[in-house]
Subunit: 200 residues, 2 copies
Amino acid sequence: MRTSHLLEQLMEALRCLPGVGPKSAQRMAFSLLQRNRQGGLQLADALSKAMTEIGHCRDCRTFTEEEVCAICSNPRRQESGEICVVETPADIVAVEATGQFSGRYFVLMGHLSPLDGIGPSDIGLDTLEFRLQNEQISELILATNPTVEGEATAHYIAELCSEYSIPASRIAHGVPVGGELELVDGTTLSHSLAGRQKLY
Amino acid sequence: MRTSHLLEQLMEALRCLPGVGPKSAQRMAFSLLQRNRQGGLQLADALSKAMTEIGHCRDCRTFTEEEVCAICSNPRRQESGEICVVETPADIVAVEATGQFSGRYFVLMGHLSPLDGIGPSDIGLDTLEFRLQNEQISELILATNPTVEGEATAHYIAELCSEYSIPASRIAHGVPVGGELELVDGTTLSHSLAGRQKLY
Ligand SMILES: [Zn+2]
Ligand SMILES: [Zn+2]
């Protein structure tokens, strides 16, 4: 027998968070109710604002509530003409943390996966092609995950670059094969960026 | 450089949850934005309702949005006349899961801790004393945690019971000493309830 319907709803709702099972959800709910209701209310507010107001950057597709994100609209970021292509916004955080890259990004929000029906336009390659046509791009650095799908996606984009005669490179395989980019340590990722191989 | 102020606020706010560090907060925020905005909005709603509407049961002090919780107001729960005293609402969940107890509860929301300035009225012992005076209670089962503070609290309440000639018992030390009641497995907790020792 439960003593609170709202408490049950809260425990159920907390399980939408990755890695949170029934036991953690219970600990979280009781902890907030007992020790930090103010924090719980701030979290409610931050969640509802983020879920409704955050969209995607017009240029790079990363998460932002602006039309164009702070990286894309920074003139110093535009100077180098380099664009680093990653699978997720979390990968931007990982690349930024290396301090080795001062260009702009393009976020695929996934990778090509024909078996799942995910084709070029689903990962924004029409937007990317538009940029290849219309911007002064010195190099496209392909930093998709070192997985089968990530490699295939990188090679697909490299072919697109060759059509527009824009140099494309792949980050070095210093990163562990089969892993996820955002979990790689900064040193490995730095080496990986420095040792990138020219594809075209 | 970050691309979204609201995203930063969300990652910061998620850290009010126990066990959530910067890396988990980032994974949670990106996961909701990318795959489950509806779930994020439901969580925001559940949080704000729970934080503002859930109070404490007038009789047992557990979390509930009603004046008196579903356990306390259940006539069949009142029949046995037994009251199980626990430290937290999570302990009610643990005791209920054993299926060995069909009485009512009293939740201290902590334990006596004179060094931290937590005295009898801070853990609701004035409310409990009022119940000892005014209700037909057959037995008070003291299921505080098997820690130094939990033991001291149990003995303090046992003395209170002796003043009103109400039988008090302590759950058996089948539960690991130094641990927390809510983490004990159901079988151990069942044995512990069955082997309770009479204190008065
Ligand atoms: Zn952008
Ligand atoms: Zn109650």
